[in-house]
Amino acid sequence: MNALSWGAAEPHLPILVVVIPLVGALLTTFLRNGFLAWLVATLVAFTLPFITIHLLLTVLETGQPITYKIGNWEAPFGIVYRVDQLSGYVLSVIAIIGAVIMPFARRSVVAEIDERARSWYYTMYLLCLAGLLGIVITGDAFNAFVFLEVSSLATYVLIALGKNRRALLAAYQYLIMGTIGATLYVVGVGLLYVVTGTLNFDDMASRLSAAIVDPGQRNAVVTALGFMVVGLSLKLALFPMHMWLPNAYAYAPSFATAFLAGTATKAAIYLLVRVVFSVFGVGMTLENLPIGEVVIVLSIAAMFLASISAVFETNAKRMLAYSSVAQIGYITLGIAIANQAGLTGSLAHIANHAVMKTALFLALGAVFYRVGSVLYDDISGIGRKMPLTMAAFAIAGLGLMGTPGTAGFISKWYLAVAAIDDGMYSVVFLIVASSLISVVYIGRITEVVWFREPSKAAAQAKEAPLSMLIPLWLLAFATVYLGFDTRATVGTASEAAKVLLEGVR
C-alpha cells in the first residue's frame, strides 16, 4: 500500500485526514437524500484508511514524526498536526473501523432512522469521524479540545436519534457527563497555558520541566494534571465515571453503537496517553501524584464490577456496553503500569478491542434488523435462524474472553507480562480471574441464542442480508487473524510504546 503514489497531495495528507470527512459532511447536508448521503459517507470512509495507513507506514519507515503547519504558521504559534507512531496507529484503527462498518450502515439506518433525518445522520457520522481523527492527529492542546467537542456533539445526535425514546435521555446524560469531562480537560489546558505560555504539546513538554522546579508554579502544574486526567477519564468511561456509557450504547441506533464502541473511547484514551506520557512524562506524573496507583485500582474495579454487571444484564447491547467498560479497564491498567509490555498490551488492545467489540455490536445490529429487539427473551434461539450472524458473534465473543488463538489473548498476555515485570503478581491473577467472568457473560448469551427454543419473534427471522454479513465476518476473521499475525497490532504498538517511554523524565 505504501507504493501508492499521492503525487502533489503527499505533503498535505495530514490535513486531508480531517478535511475529507468535513467536506463529506458538508456534501451530505446539501444532498438531503439518505442514499446519496450514504454513498458520500462510504466513499469518504474508504478513502481515509489508505491515507492513515500510508502516514503510519511512512512514520514507521523513517522513525521521524510527520508534521503539518496549518496556514504555514510556525510550530508554537500556529496549530501543528503531528503524526507519530502512536497517533498514526490510533488514526488507522479509527479509520479502518469507520470504513468497514459502512456497508452495514445502509440497511440498518433505513430501518432505524426516520427518512427525513437520514442524510443528517450521515452528516453527524462524518463530523464525528472528523472530530475523532482530529483529536488524534493534532499536536495542539486546545485544538484537541475543539475536536473533542466536535466529535462529542455529533455523538449526542447519533445517540439521540435512536428509536427507543430512552435514547433521548441517554444522550442527555452523556451530554452532561461529556461536557463536564471536556470542561475539566480545558481547565487543565488553561492552567498549563498560564504556566508555560504555549498550547503546543511538544513545546509544553519542554517548558514544563522548568516549571515543575519552581515551587510557585508546581502546584498549578499538578492541579492541571489532575484536571486533565479526571476529565479524560470521564470521556473514556473509566470506572466509576462510566455511568453514561451503558445507556448510551444500549439505546443508540445499531450503527452508531457499533461505530462508537470501536472508536469514541479510543480517541479519549489516546489523548490521555498523549497528555500523561508526552506532555507531563510519566516520571514527573508519578512523583507528584499517585495517579498510577489510583488508575490501577480503578481499572481492576472496572474489570470486575462492570463484568459482573454484564453477567446479570438481560439486554444484549447493555451487556456488551458493560463489557466495554471492563475492557477499557484492561487498557487503562496497562497504561498505568507504564512499562514497555504494559503500554504495548494496552495499545494493542485498542485495536483488538475495537475489532472485537465492533463485530459483536454489528452482529446485534443485524439481529435487531431482523427481530427488532435485543432483549434476551426476544432473541432466544436466534442462532438457529441466523447461524452465520451468531457464529461470527461467537468468534468475536471468544476473542473478548481472551481465548488463545484470538486477538483478545494477545493483549491480555502482554498485560500479564507487564504485571510480572513490575512484580505485581496479584494483578496477573486478577487479569485471569476477570477474564473468567467474561466467560460467564459471553457463555450466558451463547446459551440463550443457540440452545433455547426460538422465541415468537425469533422464529420468523431470516439470516441477515449480505451487506451486513460481509463487514461482520471481516471483523470476525480479523479477530482470529490478529491472534496469530500480530505484526500490525503488537508490532506497531511496541514501536509507539518505545517512543512514548523515551520521553519519560
Binding site: 498535505h12 468535513l22 447536508t29 446539501f30 503539518y68 496556514g71 504555514n72
Partner: protein, 139 residues
C-alpha cells in the same frame, strides 16, 4: 391589533440599520472589535425582531426556513473552501498567501472570506434555533 403602530413603524425604520450595523461589524472585524460571529448574531437579530413584530409567517417570507437551514453548512463550506483554495494554490491548508500578490493583502482577503463564512453560519444557526423554538407545539 392596530395599537402597535409605533412598534411597527419603529421596527421598519430600525431594521435596515441593524443589517447595516451587522455589515459594519463584519468588515470592521480585522481592524477592531467585531467579526463574523458578532455580525452574524446582529443580522440574525434583525430577522428575529421582524418575526416578533410582524409574526413568524412574515419572517419566513424574508428568510425561508430552507434558506436558513442551508446557510448553516454554507458558511462552513465557505470557510473550508478558503482552506482548500490555499491547498489548490500549492500552499498549506488555510494559508492565504496565494490570494493576492502582496502577503499582507492576501491575508486580509483570507480573513475576510473566512469571516464571511462565520457570519453566514452564525446567522443561519441563530435564526434556525429561533424558528425551532417558535414552532414548538404548532406543527
Amino acid at each position: 391589533m392596530r395599537l402597535d403602530l409605533i412598534l411597527r413603524v419603529g421596527a421598519k425604520l430600525i431594521l435596515p440599520f441593524i443589517l447595516l450595523f451587522a455589515l459594519y461589524v463584519q468588515f470592521h472585524g480585522d481592524y477592531g472589535p467585531g467579526g463574523g460571529f458578532q455580525a452574524g448574531v446582529i443580522a440574525a437579530g434583525m430577522v428575529i425582531l421582524y418575526a416578533i413584530i410582524f409574526g413568524v409567517h412574515a419572517a419566513k417570507r424574508i428568510a425561508p426556513p430552507i434558506m436558513v437551514e442551508m446557510m448553516v453548512p454554507m458558511g462552513v463550506a465557505i470557510f473550508t473552501g478558503a482552506g482548500i483554495a490555499g491547498l489548490l494554490m500549492g500552499n498549506n491548508f488555510l494559508d492565504y498567501t496565494g490570494f493576492a500578490h502582496d502577503y499582507l493583502h492576501a491575508h486580509e482577503w483570507g480573513i475576510l472570506i473566512v469571516e464571511l463564512g462565520v457570519l453566514v453560519t452564525v446567522c443561519g444557526t441563530m435564526v434556525a434555533m429561533f424558528y425551532a423554538f417558535v414552532q414548538r407545539g404548532r406543527s
